[in-house]
């Protein structure tokens, strides 16, 4: 198939929302000669451009694959519903951003699966790209459909659609996969997949598992891993429009609702020198004015004060701001905040998660209530006015009093805030507990839909309007996420059926169509409650139980 003339593409773009999602041409995008490349890879985060470009996974792998002179790596994202219609009507296949080639012309299509609710978008991308949605229907000439990312901790619901999963860290494995795929050219697909299956961390659903288990892939020395220093600068606005630098992988805490302890551990660090170097090169190369230090728990980076102090010193007059998501509200944090306030402030987030100390302890997040209020008070004193507070409801062992305590806590923080000039703007975000594969709570039940709605109502009432702005997800969205997170291979049929019925962008509350999903599950003779609401007994094997994780070893410090 040939490349599109710009004019043909234009006709589609005049009538869609945010046409710049599809035009590429961004600064630092790597455009190579499609015809002469020995291996052609296209990476996809299955959501719209402005969400997909906000993550780090694709950016890291893009750089790694492109660093080989004879390999080519491009990007594609899920087209909006309007563009999907325009592509379908005009018979135009979905194309990559860099050279506008149809996805079916590539050797490998790799999905970054960060969210179970993006599952139907994966099917949209496959279908529009000219690739059969089911692995079983693909020919030897179809691209290898690969997937990685946090949702792969339970790959089973997507097993019908993905030829090979990469479970765990991608930096080294992606190179091995590309080499194996390049090296087996000309062989049958099953022979090639068998070759892939020998790589540690790779799970090929169509093959019997040798030894019955797949070991999660780990890179031991994060310091030695490549990290982009010339980040792509989107020409149009994206959600996280800044230089993101991963300072630490894994998390030292063991919050019971979180997958990270098992799935991203052990903790591995990048050195301060390396981070400063990445920051310097990235800012010069991109022209961005904001850096975000990305990790699951920034205060637990051993030298965080020194790092922030140096960054603040370097950039305080260059108008570069430093964003520190994921701070724990403790004494350490207070020292840190004093450093960060030297540069332009971005918003501040605290995640108490539970309303009472008792429940916080039960979920493994032992922050005393005074500690939380003290941390907020310090923030106000140091000049912050915008604070985001993360809470979670429907946790195991939760009672109504725990939810009401959230309101009390928010009220306390708000009243401290009112003492300061300008008052406080509190944004409270309430997530619903979802049992995730690999979390200590992976077998715990999620309450039924009505109960989630009841508890959410209780939370809404306990937070007085004048105290904070409350945001939450549609309860059905959390229920569906639970069903997909803990699903087995049969759930794949429901995903395909929901997609056929028109499910798209299910992670967006205003696009989620509960009716379609209820219908899809029921037509496939499956019960969402079975996956979401059950307390799974200890003895029962789990669909993702075949994935093994190494025991924690020492953190590697560069």
């Amino acid at each position: 198939m040939s490349r599109f003339k710009p004019l043909q593409l234009n006709r589609l773009l005049y009538d869609v929302e945010r046409p710049a999602r599809y035009t590429g041409g961004e600064w630092n995008a790597i455009v190579k000669d499609f015809e002469t490349a020995d291996l052609r890879v296209v990476l996809c985060y299955p959501d719209v451009y402005e969400i997909g470009m906000s993550g780090l996974g694709i950016r890291i792998l893009y750089d790694i694959v492109n660093s080989r002179a004879n390999w080519l790596c491009e990007r594609v994202f899920c087209p909006g519903v309007d563009m999907e219609g325009a592509l379908g009507e005009s018979g135009t296949p979905l194309f990559s951003l860099e050279t506008r080639h149809p996805l079916c012309d590539f050797d490998i299509l790799g999905f970054s699966l960060g969210h179970e609710l993006c599952s139907t978008n994966v099917l949209t991308v496959l279908d529009l790209g000219g690739i059969p949605i089911r692995s079983a229907d693909r020919e030897d000439s179809d691209p290898l459909v690969l997937a990685g990312g946090s949702s792969c901790m339970n790959p089973e619901p997507m097993a019908d659609f993905i030829d090979a999963f990469l479970i765990g860290d991608g930096e080294e494995a992606v190179v091995e996969i590309c080499e194996a795929w390049e090296g087996t050219r000309g062989q049958t697909k099953s022979a090639r997949l068998e070759e892939l299956g020998r790589i540690e961390g790779v799970y090929v659903p169509s093959m019997a598992r040798g030894g019955g288990s797949v070991r999660r892939r780990l890179v031991h020395d994060l310091e030695a891993q490549p990290f982009p220093t010339a980040p792509i600068v989107p020409s149009t606005e994206i959600v996280h429009d800044r230089v993101g630098i991963e300072i630490m992988r894994g998390c030292p805490h063991a919050c019971r609702f979180c997958q990270a302890t098992t799935c991203y551990g052990p903790v591995r660090l990048r050195s301060t020198e390396r981070i400063l170097d990445i920051a310097d090169q990235s800012l010069r190369s991109s022209g961005y004015d904001e850096i975000s230090l990305v990790s699951l728990s920034t205060t637990d980076y051993p030298e965080i004060e020194e790092l922030v102090s140096v960054l603040a010193g370097r950039y305080s007059d260059g108008r570069v701001s430093i964003s520190l998501p994921s701070l724990r509200p403790d004494a350490r944090w207070i020292k840190l905040a004093a450093e960060v306030q030297r540069v332009r402030k971005t918003g501040l987030t605290l995640a108490p998660e539970a309303g009472t100390e008792r429940l916080r302890k039960a979920i493994g997040k032992p922050a005393g209530t005074e500690g939380v209020v003290a941390a907020a008070a310090t923030a106000f004193e140091l000049g912050w006015r915008r604070i985001k507070l993360y809470f979670m409801i429907c946790l195991p062992d939760e009672g109504d009093e725990d939810i009401e305590a959230i309101g009390t806590l928010v009220g306390e923080i708000a009243s401290v805030g009112r003492k300061h000039k300008g008052g406080a703007h509190l944004n409270v975000s309430a997530a619903t507990f979802v049992p995730k594969p690999g979390a200590l709570f992976e077998r715990a039940p999620q309450p039924g839909l009505e109960e989630i709605e009841r508890r959410l109502g209780l939370l809404k009432r306990s937070i007085k309007r004048r105290d904070a702005k409350l945001s939450w997800h549609d309860p059905f969205s959390s229920r569906l996420e639970a069903a997909l997170s803990r699903g087995d291979r049969r759930v794949g049929r429901a995903i395909a059926r929901a997609w056929e019925l028109g499910a798209r962008f299910d992670s967006w509350d205003d696009r989620l169509q509960p009716g379609i999903w209820e219908k899809a599950f029921s037509e496939c003779d499956l019960d969402m409650s079975h996956y979401a609401e059950r307390e799974i007994p200890q003895g029962e094997s789990l669909p993702w139980g075949f994935i093994t994780h190494r025991k924690s070893s020492e953190a590697a410090v560069g």
Partner: protein, 213 residues
């Protein structure tokens, strides 16, 4: 020091919005290591001003803007530095010093000239487009529907159209040149396209819009 510059928005940048272009320039100045002055106050903004609003979907070779820079820099260096770091589709053509405190930093635009090029789908399309253009020129009132704040409004944009002329293109296409006023009483680029393509199978016609200097 204040520097005015003229830049073009070509094919690859056609679908960038005004805000996209502002952001892209701000970052390009940083990449090119040319320090821009910022406003004082709580939320400093770069002192970068575009004379006209830049619509999505329209190319242009004559967009004008000015920027306040820290320290003396030759306008030639601004052009070279920026062209080395602008993404494809955006390019500076010239830059010049603007006297401090000069009242009109950039020559005021009197009107906007758009050229629309159509490649018709069916045999009679070219004729239909010509006829629509002639009708526009001849009409006393031309009404478009716009939504403002959720409510739909009907606006007569005829007064904003000073001139509409047609030319045949090789291959059976039509070129329409329109001179429009610079106010809300003039049709937007997309509205003009819809008026010219009335009665024609819109989704099949290839067209593009360029703003002429």
């Amino acid at each position: 020091m204040r520097v005015g510059f003229r830049f073009s928005k070509a094919e690859e940048a056609r679908f960038l919005s005004h805000l996209d272009i502002m952001r892209t320039f701000e970052r390009s100045f940083r990449r090119g290591a040319i320090p821009i002055k910022y406003t004082e106050g709580f939320n400093p903004r770069p002192k970068l001003v575009f004379r006209d609003a830049i619509p999505v979907g329209v190319t242009s070779s004559g967009e004008l803007a000015y920027v306040d820079l820290e320290g003396p820099i030759s306008p030639g260096r601004v052009v070279d530095a920026l062209n080395a770091v602008l993404p494809s589709g955006l390019r500076l053509h010239e830059a010049w010093k603007i006297a401090a405190h000069s009242k009109d930093a950039l020559p005021a635009a009197k009107a906007r000239r758009l050229e629309l090029r159509f490649d018709p789908f069916e045999a009679g399309d070219g004729e239909s487009i010509r006829a629509n253009a002639e009708k526009l020129q001849a009409s006393e009132s031309v009404v478009v529907c716009r939504s403002k704040g959720g409510k739909k409004q009907e606006i007569d944009v005829r007064s904003g159209i000073s001139e509409v002329s047609c030319k045949a293109r090789p291959g059976g296409g039509v070129s329409v040149s329109a001179l429009l006023a610079l106010n809300s009483a003039a049709p937007k680029a997309r509205e003009l396209v819809d008026l010219l393509l009335s009665g024609v199978k819109k989704s099949q016609v290839e067209w593009e819009c360029e703003k002429l200097p």
